[in-house]
C-alpha cells in the first residue's frame, strides 16, 4: 500500500492502461507500471484464481507481470493493454498447468461439453438449491469458464478469440454452452 501510494502520489492521476504503458516505455519510471498493476492486477488475478487455485494464481500473476515489465516494448497496440495482459497471463497459466501435468484433462474438457454433461448435471442436481454462482462456475469446463469470465470481464468476442487463440465461432459456442448451463442452474431464466 505504501509503495502504491508513493508511486501514485508522484505520478498524478491514473490514466488509460495504454497511456500508462507508453509512459513507462518512454520514461522507465516504475510508478507507471505500479499504476497498471493497480488497475489490471485484480482482474487478472480473479481470472487466474477461477481457472486454477489461489497458489497457482499468485505464481502466474507474478510471472505474468514480470513478462510485462521485461517485454513491454513488444506491446504492438493492436488490441488493448488488458487484452495483451490476459493473453500473456493465459499462456503462462497453460504453460504452468502443462508443467504440473494438469493440462491434459483440461484440453479434454472442451470436447466433453455435451457428451459428458450427464455427470456434471447429476452433481448439480444434487446440490441445486445450495449452489451459488461460484460453485456453478467451477463446474464448467475450463475453456467454457474462461470464455465466460473473459466476456463478463468486458472483453469482446474478438478479444477473447485473441486471448485464447481460438476462432470466434468456437468462442461463441463455448459461451452459449456456459450461459445455458448457468441459466439452467442459477435460476436466471426461472423468473
Amino acid at each position: 500500500m505504501a509503495l502504491a501510494f508513493l508511486f501514485s502520489g508522484r505520478l498524478g492521476k491514473a490514466s488509460s492502461a495504454e497511456a500508462l504503458l507508453a509512459q513507462f516505455t518512454r520514461s522507465g519510471k516504475p510508478g507507471y507500471m505500479a499504476q497498471l498493476v493497480e488497475q489490471c492486477g485484480p482482474d487478472l488475478y480473479y481470472f487466474l484464481v477461477k481457472q486454477s487455485d489461489a497458489k497457482m494464481a499468485e505464481d502466474v500473476s507474478q510471472q505474468t507481470w514480470l513478462k510485462v515489465i521485461e517485454q513491454h516494448q513488444r506491446f504492438a497496440g493492436g488490441a488493448s493493454f488488458k487484452t495483451w495482459l490476459f493473453t500473456i497471463g493465459r499462456h503462462t497459466l497453460v504453460d504452468e498447468m502443462r508443467r504440473q501435468q494438469r493440462w491434459q484433462t483440461i484440453e479434454w474438457d472442451d470436447n466433453m461439453s455435451e457428451s459428458a454433461d450427464t455427470e456434471v448435471w447429476q452433481k448439480v442436481a444434487l446440490h441445486q438449491q445450495q449452489m451459488a454462482f461460484d460453485a456453478h462456475l467451477m463446474l464448467l469446463p475450463f475453456v467454457q469458464r474462461e470464455a465466460l469470465i473473459l466476456q463478463l470481464e468486458g472483453f469482446s468476442l474478438a478479444d477473447i478469440a485473441l486471448i485464447t487463440g481460438q476462432p470466434q465461432e468456437t468462442i461463441k459456442s463455448r459461451l452459449r454452452y456456459a450461459r445455458q448451463f448457468l441459466q439452467q442452474f442459477c435460476g436466471v431464466d426461472h423468473d
Binding site: 520514461s27 522507465g28 519510471k29 505500479a34 480473479y46 499468485e58 454433461d117 423468473d191
Partner: protein, 219 residues
C-alpha cells in the same frame, strides 16, 4: 438420473436484460470475494520497482543501446571502407621482340593492377599460383635447366644478356620478387654473372649469382 432438459422459451428483451444483469451482478459479487491479496500486491509492486530499475535505470539502458548502435555502425563503416580500398595486384607479362634475328629481346615485367580489396580477395589466384611456382622452383631448383648470362643495368633497366643471342629486360618490381637467394642486386657487381631459371611458360622464376662466366660459342 437423466439429464434435465433445458426449457425452451423465447425470452423477451427485458427478460434477457434482467438475466444479463443478474449474471453480471453474480460475477461482480464473486469477484469481490476474490480480491488481489495484499501480500501479492506488495510483491508485485516490489517486483515492478526492482525489475524496472535493474540493471540500469531506463534512460541509461536506452543510452546504452544507442551507443551500441553507433559503435556498430562505425565498425561497419570502417570495414566497408577497408574493403573498398584499392590494392595492387601484380601480373607477370613477357613481351618478346626480334630486332636482329637471331637476336631476341625479352621484356619481363610485373604490371600492377589496382582493384578494390574485396574484389582483389577473389583475384589473388594468379599471384598465389606464381608464388606456388616459385616455391616449387626453389625446391626443385637443381632440376631446372640453368641459363647463364650477365646481369647489368642499362638505362635504368635491368638486363640479362645471354651471349649475343638474347637480351632479357626486367623491371625493378620483378627483380624484387626474384630475390630468392638473399642477394641484393644493388650490391652485385656492375656486370654480374648470373644463372637464371625459367618456369613452364618461360617466365623467370629465379636468378642467382653464378661463379662461372658464361661460355659463348664463337661465331
Amino acid at each position: 438420473m437423466t439429464k434435465p432438459t433445458p426449457p425452451h422459451f423465447t425470452p423477451t428483451t427485458s427478460k434477457l436484460d434482467a438475466q444479463e444483469q443478474r449474471l453480471k451482478q453474480a460475477y461482480a459479487e464473486s469477484k469481490a470475494q476474490h480480491p488481489l491479496p495484499a501480500a501479492l500486491k506488495t510483491k508485485l509492486l516490489q517486483q515492478v520497482n526492482q525489475r524496472s530499475a535493474f540493471p540500469f535505470s531506463w534512460p541509461v539502458q536506452v543510452w546504452f543501446r544507442q551507443v551500441q548502435f553507433v559503435l556498430g555502425s562505425i565498425c561497419l563503416a570502417i570495414l566497408g571502407f577497408l574493403l573498398l580500398q584499392p590494392v595492387s595486384i601484380p601480373s607477370y607479362q613477357i613481351a618478346i621482340t626480334y630486332q636482329n634475328q637471331p637476336f631476341e629481346r625479352e621484356n619481363h615485367r610485373l604490371t600492377m593492377r589496382s582493384l578494390p580489396a574485396v574484389v582483389a580477395q577473389f583475384s589473388n589466384d594468379e599471384q598465389q599460383q606464381r608464388y606456388q611456382q616459385m616455391v616449387a622452383a626453389q625446391r626443385d631448383i637443381s632440376q631446372f635447366h640453368a641459363e647463364y648470362g650477365v646481369l647489368q643495368k642499362v638505362q635504368q633497366e635491368w638486363q640479362i644478356t645471354v651471349c649475343d643471342k638474347i637480351a632479357v629486360t626486367l623491371d625493378d618490381a620483378l627483380l624484387q620478387q626474384l630475390k630468392m637467394f638473399d642477394a641484393t642486386p644493388s650490391v652485385w657487381q656492375t656486370q654480374q654473372q648470373i644463372a637464371f631459371y625459367r618456369g613452364a611458360q618461360g617466365q623467370l622464376v629465379a636468378i642467382k649469382p653464378a661463379d662461372n662466366a658464361q661460355l659463348c660459342p664463337v661465331s
